[in-house]
Each structure stands twice: as C-alpha cells, then as structure tokens.
Subunit: 487 residues, 2 copies
C-alpha cells in the first residue's frame, strides 16, 4: 500500500474516533461514558499503531526516494507526512493509551471541580497531565524550552520565544485598547430588549445566516450542546454545535458564526485529498483565523446587520422599536469579564496572555500546580485590575487543560491576528469589498477558498499568510481593527 | 491475549460500527453517505480479520484444551465462540468487504425502486445479493438446502425443514383466525378520535411508559427516524428510534413498546460479560419474542390500558369522551393490509409465510429474481384473497433483502410463537400474574431477567424456551392468544 493509502486509512480511523466523540458530546447517555472511553482509546491506539508502524515507515521512505520532485503538492504531502511520522514515532502506543485514559478521567474531575469551584479536586489530574506533557516534550525534544515541542504540534514553524515576543510587543497596546473600549462602552450602557427570544426562532435565523455565508447543510449539520464545538466526521461532513440563551439571541448566533468559520474551512479543503496533508487544515492558528473572521469581521460588521437586522426584527417582535444604532452599540459593547468565552473582541486577548504565561511556567517547572490558583489570580489582577471571585471563574473555567491541551491557547490570539490580516487583504480586492458592503459573502468565500482553504497543510502557517496577503504575519491589521471597534 | 479478550475486542469494533451506523440512520447529512459506507466497511473488515486470525484461532484452541469443564458458562462461551469462529473463518475478508459495499449500493437502489414502484431498479442488486448469499452458503455448507446455512446464523439449531413444517402446520389455522378477526373487526368499524396528537405530547407519554416497563434512560435513549430500530452501542447503551403520526398516537407508542422489548433485553444481558456469548442475545427469534411480548402481550392488554388510558385522556383532550371499550376495539382492530409493518397481530404471520416461501425458492434456484414480483403477487393473493396494488406495497416494501438479510423473516414468526409461550409461562407465577393485572411490570421484568436475559447466548433458543417454560417450543399458546384477540 502506498503511503497515501496509509494516510487515508489513518484519517479514516480518526474520523471514526470523531463520530464516537461527537456522539459522546451530543447524545451519550450518562451511564455509557465509561465504555465510550474504552472505544475511543481503542481507536486512538489503532491510529497511532498504524502511523508508527514499519509498514508506514517503509512506504514513506519508498515514496520519498522515488519522488521526482516536480509536483509541489506531492512533495509537500511527503514533507508533512514525514514530519507527522517523526513526531508520532517518538511516542510509544502505551503512552498514547495512558494519555487517552488520563484525559477521560481528568475531564470528569475538572467538570466536578469547576462545578464546586474546588481546585484540589482537579489538581492531581493536572499534575498527571502536566507530567504526561513533559514526558512527551522530552521524547520529542525542543530547541529552547518544553513549550516549543507542544506548540509545534499546533502551530508548526513558530517558537515559544517568537510568540512571547509577539505577545509582549502588543501587550501594552492591548491593555490600552481594552481600557478605552470598556470605558466608552460603559458610558453608553448598551442593552438588548428583554427576551424571550425563542430557541426555535433562533435556530431558524442561525440556519439562514449559516447558509448565507457558505455552510453546506447537505454535508454538515448544527446540533445543540453545552460546549459548542466543530468537528469533521468525513469529507465535508462537518458537525457544528451551539447552545441557546433565550434572553439574548446574539449569543448563539455569534457562536454559530464562529463555528461556521471553522466548518466552512473544513468543507473547503480539497475534497479528493481528504486524509492527506493537502486535504487537511494548516494549523490551529489558521483554523481560528477562519472562525474569528466569520464571527467578528463578518458577523459584527455594520453591513452585516444592515441586511440581517430587519430579518431579526421580523422574527423577534421586541426588536421592532429598537434602532439598528442601539443594536450595534450592543453588538460592540465591551466590558471586563473574568470569563474568556464571554469576553468581547477588545478584552479577549488579555485572557490568552495570562494563560500562555502560566502554561509556559508550568512546563518550565517554575510554577507548581498547587500554586496555579494564586498565580492565575495575581496575573489576572495585573491585566484586568480586579481579582476573579473564585476559581470557578478563574483557573477552572476552561476545559482545555483537562483534555491535555497544554500549549493550545496561544493559537487563539494568533488566529485573531491572522483573521484581521486576511480580512484586510481580502478587502483589497474591490469585488470582495463591494460585495461585503452589501452583505454578500460569496466573493469573500471564493477569496478564502483560493487563498487559504485550497492549500490544505501544504504551506506553513506563516508562508500561507505571506502568500495570501503579500506580507509577512503582522499585528498591524489586528490592532487597527480593534481600535475601529471602540465606540 | 485470552480468547475472551479477543472476543471483547471484536465486540468493541462492532460497537464502534454500531455508533457509526446509528449516526447514519439518525443524523447523517445526505452528502456524507458515501464516506460513511467506507468507514463502515473498514470497521467490518477489521472485525472480520480479527475473528478469523491465527491469533484468535490459537487463543481459542488454547482455551479449549485447558478448559476443566466444571463451569457451564465458561464451557458454553467456548462452544459459542468456536461456532462463530468456524462460521467466520470460512468467509474471506474480501467477501465481507464486497458484501458490505453491495449492501450499501443495494440499500440506495432499493429505496429508489420502492419510491417509484419500479422493481427493475432493484433487480440487479437483488441478483448480486442472492449470489453473495449463495456463495456464503456454499462456503459454509448445509445439511439439506442453502437456506439452512443462513438460518443457522440467525436461529441456531433449527432447520429449514423444521420451520417449513411448523409454518405449514399452523398455516390453515392462521388463515382462519385472520379471516375471522378481520370480519368481526369490520363489523365494529373501530376508529380513533381525530388528531392532531402533538408529537411532543406523544414523546412524553412514550417516555413514561417506556420507563414503567423497565427501559433505563440513564444508559439508553429514544430518537426519531423514518425506519424504527434498536441498536446497542455499548453495555446497556441502547438506542431506540421511533417515528410519529400526529393522526394516531398509538402508532408510535406500540413501536416504542416493541423496540423497548428489544432494548430491555439488551440492557438485561449480563453486564460484565459484554462482548462474550454469555453477554449476548440468544437469537433473533428470542430477541423478537421480547419485543412482541412488550408490544402485544403487555401493550395491547386491557389491564395495560386500564392504567394508561386515563393518562392518555389527560394528555389528549379529544379522548375525553371516547370510552376505554371503544379504544380497545381500536387497539384490537384487524384488517388485511398489503404492508407487513402495518399488519395487526392476527394477520401478521401470513406476511412471513409468504416471504419464507419465496426466499427459500430463490435460494434453491427455483425462483428467478425476475419472477419475484409475480410470485409475490400470486402468493399474496392465495393468502389474503387480493392482489397488492403495485410492487411498492408488494415485493419492494421491506428493507431486509437490500441489507442482505435473506433468511431473516422466519424469525419474526418464531418470535411471535416464543413470546406467547414465555408470557403464558410467566403468568403461571401468581406474583407476576397479579402484578400484570395491575399494570405493574416489575415482577414480569424480573421473571424475564431470570428466565431469558441472564442466560445470554449460553443456551440454544429451544433449550432456553424449554428451560424457561418447562415445555418444548410449541405454537399452542400463540394460537390461543390470537384467538383471544378476536372481538
């Protein structure tokens, strides 16, 4: 079997894992959780065994030695498969299974700890997951610090020092923007007319909007969960989830726009290359750029609501006497929240800076797990000027660590930066810009398909940005965008 | 690894298949169907490879040779694993994959053929599936006729000739019962007050009733599909589906009672033996006995409705002035329908007799696929006294053949017979009988757990019936039951 056939089989196993995981998040009866963890661990270990097998290694070597080098996509596929193999082969299957079990246990403990705002319930699990992460970074090796080895798995080609420099460079400006945004928003005290905004009506509006920006419901769907996410179960079979707040229809809508950005990217990857690097997303930072672009640059724009606000007014009678100007004040409102997922655009990245700093120190061994709550609270106070009320809305708020996702958070801010740079570049095309102003997103989608989606993972994230925008990655467009938001 | 560890892994792969299949039937977007078929075929071939591997064979032989023989369940497990292995090992994996693909294609073609009542659309697929079935029966071998080899897979220990003799013996009486039931029912012309019976209210009633007869919603769930079914995705993780008719709430309710019978059986199998024969259902004919028992002996009884009709009247105001007597006339109504799944108790088995006869002739080569529609219509006319209007309500009505399920139908009537015999035996216990009369099914459930569920597949179907009822399998209780239904 060729290495590409192997890669497709690997991806097929992962996609089966995806189906069982999606069912777990959306439909699994509580008493079925334990066996589901066993099923998922089995699939994970089959995938890992395959991707680290001698058959795989030999097929890869054979393809490499016979590569004529005249097809850049073929060459990129081999390069990326080699990178994945080298990384995977360093981890014993035993560790992968151990990690899968540790994650299952940690997820339950974290949910319990958060519910009761009791960090000690989660602490031993975080110890285990941190030890596992360190074990992996030692097996992988790293140029400067352990965090490098984790970041490489999410965002190839950028070092921890790069990210730290970037974050330090924008930190003062981000704090200033946030402070001004919160202040001007507070002066206007924006409010939405009271609910209920019925769930069924929200669903109908969400679906219309999702279709209008390009999500394909013939191949994908949207379901309801407590923790919104997006997952791909096969070529273009993309499952989004959302949750509803009957007091505020924009909460679910912006969530759907966000997940649709992820989903439209997945649906736009080269179809026949499913399972190959050329049919796979480039990185988490590029993935997040697609979701933030749809959520913030499309969904929070005045032109978007010029089109959709009258539709919302038809569906929700309480909006009848509420002007678009007041509604936009609400959409652009800003305030300091202790919770990342409730943060607005202007304050969001401060949450990421905090997490990046803590994770890095944990991995370097300069922050003990027991000291995480204090370090969190101090770091939060420094950035936001107040302390979180408790650990539930502090260091226990996010699911990521409990899933073993150390090193993940940084990609959210990278995604914000990429989104702004890509959106600005797209708008340089006059057809795209004029259609966007009419809330017609077909040309924007075509531009994204051409400049981002069609490349799969054949370009590194920074090369992709360079090629799509004509410039190296830069925070300029993002900072301008944030400033434009201040009321 | 021990043979039991292998068996559990096999079952785990099958359960992953089950999750993907359940998602296919309940949630899959249309454009995702092709890749899903690929995923399912991959899982099917992994399971088959494992169950026919040398590792499996050696582990089985080693367990057999070291079996001290002092534990009847252990011995039964080895006996059943040997039977499965001998059967599976005769089929090459290539054939299993070919069959999986043929089924996927045939299912689509059948749906299309049925929709347009156009048998030629389905005929070439039926040819392929029949050829595959024959290929398998030749690989397996059979004592007298090919149908034997298929039946053995569904209902171990009964020959085609046994079934034919049984069916021929009850055929005249079944026809007479059906004719009388239809005639007396027609005289009463029972009707249900007009709908709508809102779906959400039906769901609430269904759930109350499902819980009251013993379905465990902590481990299982009920969803909505066009083709109701029951599947097990892990220990006690049983997923039922139903469909709703807002003109008749009893349609979904009896469907749920039926699927609950299957589901309660699955949930009652020995939990820690999941994946072993002792944790697996005994046969299709025993499985169907559990669904028919709940649907017909419990759900269509007067005592059941003594309890639940007042609840239904509360939920559906149009029932307020409609007496329980009239409602029972409706529940017990009988008529000749061309459609099996719409048939009532008194006419149901005639549909099975027809299919059994045709399948047997197809497998023996005395009925060509092209002649199936005519043979169907003639056979139907002989049993029912009229011709189906077209193939849509004739030979194209059932999904079974398109799934490769030749030899399956006979087990429905075996299930009906078993259900009556088991229910009569359970009622011989005074605690069970008196509770049933009060619509309290906990003692009945305990009796079924003890007499049927707890044995898994360690007894042959006929031994299980003998042990549970103290008598060999017999049609006596079933014929009495059917006669008691005539108004």
């Amino acid at each position: 079997m060729s290495i590409f056939a192997h890669a497709r089989e690997f991806s097929l196993i992962q996609s089966c894992f995806g189906v069982l995981n999606w069912d777990q998040e959306t439909h699994l009866p509580p008493d079925a959780a334990a066996y589901r963890a066993t099923q998922l661990a089995w699939l994970a270990s089959r995938a890992h065994e395959l991707a680290t097998s001698n058959t795989w290694k030999n097929a890869l070597e054979s393809a490499e030695s016979s590569n004529p080098g005249d097809n850049p996509i073929h060459t990129a596929n081999l390069r990326e498969l080699r990178r994945s193999f080298n990384r995977a082969a360093l981890l014993p299957t035993e560790l992968v299974v151990r990690e899968s079990s540790a994650n299952s246990l940690a997820k339950h403990a974290w949910a319990d700890a958060r519910k009761h705002s009791h960090f000690p319930t989660f602490a031993p699990h975080l110890e285990t997951l941190l030890a596992l992460a360190r074990e992996k970074t030692e097996l992988w090796g790293y140029p400067n610090e352990p965090y490098d080895a984790l970041l490489e798995g999410y965002e190839h080609g950028i070092s921890t020092a790069n990210v730290a420099n970037l974050f330090n460079a924008i930190r003062p400006e981000l704090r200033e923007i946030a402070a001004r945004a919160v202040e001007t928003s507070a002066a206007r005290a924006p409010q939405l007319p009271p609910g209920p905004y019925p769930t069924a009506t929200q669903q109908s509006l969400n679906r219309q909007i999702a279709e209008s920006i390009g999500f394909d419901f013939h191949a994908g769907r949207i379901d309801t969960t407590n923790h919104p996410f997006c997952t791909t179960l096969g070529p273009r079979d993309v499952r989004l989830t959302t949750r509803f707040n009957e007091a505020d229809f924009t909460s679910s809508l912006f969530g759907v726009l966000h997940e649709c950005g992820h989903g439209i990217y997945e649906q736009g990857l080269p179809l026949t290359d499913f399972g190959l690097p050329s049919g796979t997303s480039a990185s988490l930072g590029i993935h997040e750029s697609q979701s933030r672009l749809m959520e913030n640059h499309v969904g929070r724009s005045r032109s978007f609501w010029n089109r959709w606000y009258p539709v919302a007014q038809q569906l929700f009678p309480q909006l009848a006497g509420f002007s678009l100007d007041h509604f936009m004040d609400y959409v652009w409102r800003s305030s300091f929240s202790p919770i990342r997922v409730e943060a607005d655009e202007s304050t969001y990245d401060l949450h990421i800076l905090l997490r990046f700093d803590l994770e890095r120190r944990m991995l370097n061994g300069t922050l003990a797990v027991a000291d995480v709550p204090d370090a969190w609270n101090d770091g939060f106070h420094e950035l936001f000027g107040f302390f979180p009320e408790n650990d539930q809305v502090g260091c226990l708020q996010d699911i990521h660590w409990s899933m073993g996702g150390l090193g993940y958070f940084a990609t959210y801010t990278l995604g914000n930066i990429n989104a702004a740079q890509l959106f600005a570049a797209a708008r340089e095309n006059p057809t795209v810009a004029s259609a966007i102003d009419q809330a017609n997103y077909a040309p924007l989608l075509a531009w994204l398909r051409l400049s981002v989606h069609t490349h799969g993972a054949t370009l590194s994230p920074s090369d992709l940005i360079q090629q799509a925008t004509g410039k190296p990655p830069s925070t300029q467009a993002y900072l301008s965008h944030l400033k434009s938001r201040i009321l």
